[in-house]
Symmetry: C2
Subunit: 216 residues, 2 copies
């Protein structure tokens, strides 16, 4: 079965699934528009025009522009949270699980939702929505710190300040949204490889033959 070119062309089969596909298309179009023009310079008319639908059609899926931004934040952060969840369940060292989160994080931040996650301002959301986004971000931060602490205690990560290490890693990853372009030469996974190499081994050359650089 090939995927239809527009979710508005899906044959009438599963109405609930159709609605979900259409809602996802609305959120994706919003994320792209916000990234291209900025949140304040984008209108619901702009997003409707991209999707070839009327503005009232959009209101069937989201109640206003603010909710679109909220859903974009949530979609992007949800991808990172999913990577953290998988890492939590994995049977591996703290360092290996942290590396898996870094990969998922890099994929999320280079996605269409990266701009919203990093460059849109929480203050454009209602206090309730902003509080929920802050809570999601805080959970991700706590997950990363926990993996660093686990790595320190299982010996796969050198002793250090888990909070500052988590901030440094998340900052380096978040900043990708500032410089990454879809047409850039490196894929998300190639960027992740290079970042992981740096995060794991550091700047200082390792003694040749030392096993510390390898996974325990």
């Amino acid at each position: 079965m090939t995927r239809p070119s527009s979710p508005w062309n899906v044959p009438p089969a599963d109405r609930e699934r159709q609605r979900e596909l259409k809602r996802d298309a609305v959120i994706l179009a919003a994320a792209r528009a916000f990234r291209e023009r900025g949140y304040h310079n984008t209108s619901l008319d702009d997003i409707a025009a991209v999707l070839h639908v009327t503005k009232p059609t959009l209101y069937y899926y989201v109640s206003n522009k603010e909710q679109m931004l909220f859903e974009c934040f949530r979609e992007g952060l949800g991808r990172i949270a999913a990577a953290c969840g998988e890492a939590r369940d994995a049977n591996a060292s703290g360092r290996e699980r942290l590396i898996a989160v870094v990969r998922g994080y890099a994929e999320a931040i280079t996605s269409d939702f990266g701009w919203c996650m990093v460059r849109a301002e929480d203050q454009d959301l209602s206090p309730q929505m902003s509080a929920r986004i802050k809570a999601l971000k805080s959970e991700i931060d706590q997950d990363i710190r926990r993996l660093v602490r686990q790595g320190i205690s299982d010996g796969s990560i050198a002793a250090g300040d888990p909070k500052m290490v988590a901030f440094a890693i998340a900052g380096a990853l978040n900043w990708i949204a500032h410089w990454y372009r879809d047409d850039a030469s490196l894929s998300a996974s190639a960027i992740a490889d290079r970042f992981i190499e740096f995060f794991v081994n550091g700047l200082a050359p390792r003694v040749s033959g030392a096993t510390a650089g390898k996974s325990p």
Copy 2:
């Protein structure tokens, strides 16, 4: 000699120096106001009120709000550029010089100008001003890449991708502006220490007694 509480109270001695002090006070007040309320939510009246001067007085130092933002960007980026300049002249390994830049960068980004440097949008500036800010940022990026390459060639930094390492380091440092608060428990220099420890040694434990972690 004690410093006067307001640069408008300086006794009439060196008029040029006075003007400079007052201009610096205007830029600093603007940086703080932008950080607190956001650029779009701050008016020249707000800044004038903080300084206890009239709006026409401000126009003696800057021509408009946009120029204030530009000067804030320039002041903050200038501090990082100064650290890069000092590193360029230093007689030390690439890694030691890079570490010195990281220290200066952390000081600049935790200063009152950090918000403007990282969270204000270039697009709020005229194309000419924006181009000058982009050029300043690009110089800093090139300086950091150059130090990484020098470190690789003098053996103080392990082989890697200088561009990606520079992006990861600058991203981690820039992101400090998102989480740092003046009343936070760690000083700029303590944050720099922890970041440097992570950047230099990485996550993987080093072999005990290995000399690679030390300065060559």
